[in-house]
């Protein structure tokens, strides 16, 4: 068995003295593990960092075997993210989210979204909106997508500013007004009727994290006996601090 694909490194675990088991999210073969000979050595260590993009050749005698990877770096992002706290927490959190996908099951949309997110991670605010969108996409990919296209109560497609915490459906301003304290807020950058408006405020980012965090926890993490990763909390904390610093300046 042999295939060649592009992938993004999600994690690396040392195996024996010199090898490593590398976990990739590949475009065509999904989340896929493989052994890299010499992966624990100093030569390959810079390449085998979460967030780096690679060209991967996977070989095994049988399809169900772990197999061996031959990897070549195509975009080395890890060194550039190390200096900023939001980026380093973000990469760790994105990798832990992608790890929720079943193994060896292709998710090309998620792969492309992860690549776009990692490519656009320099600006703190943009990184936050990308990460919220990625969490939303992960919910959909795992079968718990939110219906943000029309109001769950009236069917209208305009002024969708709330989300029902029960159904995950959008709720319009008029229909949601009596229960506004119980509903989650839908930030403008996630609204489908926003006419391509991608602006955000600090409150929008907080609303976005509350929204995806609630459904990820209830539908995906808690049934697996997990909670939100420390990296997610660290990312939100880093974004909040950065925005507070910018506001003071």
């Amino acid at each position: 068995m042999e295939w060649t694909d592009e992938g993004i490194i999600l994690g690396v675990r040392r195996h024996g003295e010199s090898s490593a088991i590398v976990e990739l999210l590949t475009r065509g073969h999904g989340r896929h593990l493989g052994l890299v000979r010499g992966g624990a050595g100093s030569k390959l260590r810079p390449l085998l960092q979460p967030g780096n993009s690679v060209s991967a050749v996977w070989r095994a005698r049988l399809d169900e075997h772990l197999g061996y990877y031959l990897l070549e770096g195509t975009r080395m992002r890890a060194a550039t993210v190390l200096a900023s706290s939001h980026a380093v927490y973000g990469v760790t959190h994105l990798a832990s989210l992608a790890r929720l996908l079943p193994e060896r099951d292709p998710h090309e949309d998620i792969y492309e979204m992860l690549e776009r997110t990692l490519n656009d991670f320099d600006d703190v605010g943009d990184a936050a909106t990308h990460l919220i969108r990625f969490e939303l996409a992960m919910l959909a990919e795992l079968g718990f997508g939110l219906d943000l296209s029309s109001c769950a109560a009236t069917g209208t497609t305009s002024e969708l500013i709330y989300v029902s915490p029960k159904s995950g459906g959008a709720v319009s301003r008029a229909a949601g007004e009596p229960w506004r304290d119980k509903l989650l807020r839908l930030p403008p950058f996630l609204r489908e009727d926003n006419g391509g408006h991608n602006g955000w405020s600090d409150q929008d980012l907080q609303d976005g994290f509350d929204l995806t965090g609630r459904f990820l926890l209830r539908n995906v993490l808690e049934p697996r006996g997990q909670g939100h990763s420390d990296a997610r909390d660290g990312f939100i904390n880093a974004v909040t601090k950065h925005l507070a610093r910018v506001a003071i300046l």
């Binding site: 994690g11 675990r13 960092q49 979460p50 770096g73 060194a79 550039t80 200096a83 990763s229 904390n237």
Partner: protein, 201 residues
């Protein structure tokens, strides 16, 4: 099935030696044979040294270093600067810095770095003890000498957040071109990090 060429005691010695890092079954067999040939000159002193080490080795309650005394030699050395704490992930990193005589400060060994893949969380590291040490009025600087990996730097940022209230200067090691490194062979990430952190010449 392989036929044993020596008695069970010698086979056991070979099996145990083969568990050491860097040694496989073949090299373990060679090492065992070498020890047996130099029984008086090498094997007996090695055995005695191992026995003493078993009895005396302790983990320093202050910094987490391994030594035969608690607090360790580094912590009790009066020539050390108590205002600086160098944070390392592992005892091997501490020894590496000591070999290089890179710092005169004291150390703090975390035990590992945060790693979601390996299930290592903040509760598995000695971060609480570090935060407590950082609140000592004598301490003015914490140097985060952690690996330049995503896990290492995630740990560094996490610790930095926790140390904000301690009122100490938190620094980290520089990232860039290694001594003997040729630019042509460096990955683009390291190069761009080195370029960003360039210094006045």
């Amino acid at each position: 099935m392989a036929i044993a060429v020596a008695g069970p005691e010698i086979e056991r010695l070979i099996q145990l030696l083969a568990r050491l890092p860097g040694l496989g079954p073949r090299s373990a067999r060679r090492a065992a044979l070498h020890l047996i040939k130099k029984r008086e000159a090498l094997m007996a002193p090695l055995s005695a040294a191992l026995q003493v080490a078993i009895e005396k080795i302790q983990v320093c309650k202050v910094c987490g270093n391994i030594d035969t005394q608690d607090p360790c030699t580094v912590c009790t050395d009066p020539r050390r600067d108590p205002s600086i704490i160098v944070v390392v992930a592992d005892v091997a990193d501490l020894w590496a810095l000591e070999r290089a005589s890179a710092t005169n400060g004291q150390y703090h060994v975390l035990g590992a770095t945060l790693s979601p893949l390996d299930g290592v969380g903040p509760q598995d590291l000695t971060i609480d003890a570090l935060v407590a040490r950082a609140h000592d009025p004598k301490v003015t600087e914490i140097i985060l000498a952690l690996n330049a990996t995503v896990d290492g730097q995630t740990t560094a940022h996490y610790i930095t957040d926790l140390l904000q209230e301690a009122g100490v200067k938190v620094t980290r090691l520089a990232h860039g071109v290694p001594v003997g490194g040729e630019l042509d062979y460096l990955d683009e990430g390291t190069l761009s990090a080195a370029m960003r952190q360039r210094t006045l010449f």
